[in-house]
Amino acid sequence: MKSIETKQEYLDYVDKKSPNSPILRNCFNAFWVGGLICSIGQLIFDFCQYKGLDDTMSSTVVSIILIGIAALLTALNIFNKIGKFAGAGSLVPITGFANSIVSPAIEYKSEGYVMGVGGKMFTVAGPVLVFGISTSVIVGIITLFFI
């Protein structure tokens, strides 16, 4: 093995030795886990429709049930194992939003139930709600000008 002298050579060396970028495998896992979570949602949706709920109500029921399952799996410490395997597959569906609330809620329990659980709950979900809701208000106001 020839000695490594320049920084560029070192970077090339690291590139060659580090494992092949697992991005394809990551994408594949994200694809099927994400697809599966959506399909479970679709089955719940179909069942709600079968029971006679309308589209809006069915969607809400789907969200609540998936969030409930994600919260349970987070509490049982299973969700982070799925997350490690599936990456965006469990992050991008609504389950990721649920996990982002439940996980810090459990983690910061020791800091108390008000500022610990209640406050830290929104470490990740806070920004999501801030930007999501603010944009929706802007969209609503813009709509007013186009009626």
Binding site: G41, I67, A75, G89, K109, G132, S136, G140
Partner: protein, 128 residues
């Protein structure tokens, strides 16, 4: 069973594929950029609001059902849809009420289940 017969299997397949593809976009963002997961969630929800507002996302939902509504894009699109509908019926007040109203179920569920989970679960001990 009647329920099994009522399932639209083609829709379920489209749901699986579209939902999966949206997750691949997220995975590429994770692998190819240095964005934290919080930023990725923010990007997805905000993009969803915009796609919902310009009316594109409706077609994705028609095509893929929960494959489009379950990812956070759908959460955003739902915020936009609520804000637009409510703004049309009750004006400026509606612009403020609509978005959160449409997604209240999910938000309340996440907060409630989160709090319950924190009461029941023990924080895991961090390995050094």
């Amino acid at each position: 069973m009647d329920f099994l017969q009522s399932i639209d299997w083609m829709l379920l397949l489209r749901c699986f594929i579209v939902g999966g593809l949206i997750c691949i976009v997220g995975q590429i963002l994770i692998d190819k950029t240095k964005l934290t997961s919080a930023r990725i969630l923010v990007i997805f929800v905000t993009t969803g609001v915009i796609l919902g507002a310009v009316g594109i996302y409706k077609y994705v939902i028609d095509f893929a059902g929960c494959g489009a509504t379950v990812p956070l894009l759908g959460f955003g699109a739902n915020l936009a849809k609520g804000a637009i509908t409510e703004a049309q019926t009750s004006g400026l007040l509606g612009a403020f009420i609509g978005g959160v109203k449409a997604s209240a179920g999910g938000i309340a569920a996440a907060i409630f289940f989160g709090y319950i989970a924190s009461l029941l679960a023990k924080p895991k001990i961090k390995k050094q």
